[in-house]
Amino acid sequence: MMPDLGKYADVVLGSYAVSLTLIVLLVVVSIRRARKVRAELERVEGKGRSDG
């Protein structure tokens, strides 16, 4: 199934490894920060309501 990449296997596989790792990291960091900020806003809004 794996195509024969010949003498360029290192650079082709390296390109895919670097790119996919960076994309996955970007997605994971974005989702984690989105969850964290959403929870923080809910906490601050909840606190505001209970104080007010």
Partner: protein, 242 residues
């Protein structure tokens, strides 16, 4: 319905919440199909051998690196002219995505260039303007972080974005301007003679669609996050004043 309705943060979050899952699914599907098609089911190029498979990452990421900055330019202009916070926050949200796309384009370009040109890097007009564009991304993100007042940060980063747009356009057209250096002209062209062969072109189009959809999904998600972060800061500031 007017486009400016989406300048309302609540309306923006409500609308993007509805479309985000669909765009995300389409982005993943396009990327998976395009990359599998390109990697496993396309032949080697008669000159470049198997390195041609790098095109499915290099071209879409380079396109997005430039277009992300142009999207930031439009959003910055909207902020400067109409003072809509959502547009300034959308520009802020797009910057890290554009920066990652630029790194991918630079890294895959270096990996592709080594066997084809015999060097990882050359001070070629397109490569150099791309590197400067990356530095502009870093400067833009650093400026947002360095300034506490959101409106001041939006003003200054918008001006920086206008200046950086020169390099975004330069990185696209540098080859045409100077007609020198190692990097060839555009891979995609309406001229059949200049365009890449169909066997590479169609999977490449699917990959480009995947990168565009991924960019849109990430910008929507990150803009929502910036809107919520801004509201949190405002509420906490109000609390401190009380």
């Amino acid at each position: 319905m007017s486009l400016w309705e989406y300048a309302n943060p609540v309306k923006f979050i409500r609308t993007t919440d509805k479309v985000l899952p669909w765009i995300s699914v389409l982005a993943v599907a396009s990327l998976v199909i395009g990359l599998i098609w390109g990697f496993f089911f396309t032949p080697d190029d008669f000159r470049q051998g198997s390195t041609v498979k790098i095109i499915y990452l290099h071209v879409p990421s380079a396109l997005m690196a430039i277009n992300a900055w142009l999207m930031m330019l439009v959003a910055s202009l909207i902020w400067i002219v109409r003072r809509h916070h959502v547009s300034a926050l959308a520009a802020r949200a797009a910057a890290p995505v554009g920066a990652v796309m630029t790194v991918i384009a630079l890294a895959t370009g270096a990996l592709w260039g080594q066997p084809m040109w015999g060097t990882w890097w050359a001070w070629d007009p397109r490569l150099t303007s791309f590197l400067i564009l990356f530095l502009f991304y870093l400067g833009y993100m650093a400026l947002w972080e360095a300034i506490e007042n959101d409106d001041t940060a939006a003003d200054l980063t918008s001006i920086l974005c206008l200046v950086g747009s020169v390099f975004a356009l330069l990185s696209r057209y540098a080859v045409n301007f100077w007609n020198q250096g190692l990097h060839q002209g555009a891979s995609l062209s309406l001229d059949k003679e200049e365009n890449v062969a169909d066997v590479f072109y169609f999977p490449l189009l699917v990959c480009i669609a995947g990168f565009v959809l991924l960019f849109i999904a990430l910008v929507f998600l990150r803009t929502q996050t910036e809107i919520r972060a801004r509201r949190t800061r405002a509420l906490m500031a109000r609390e401190r004043m009380a």
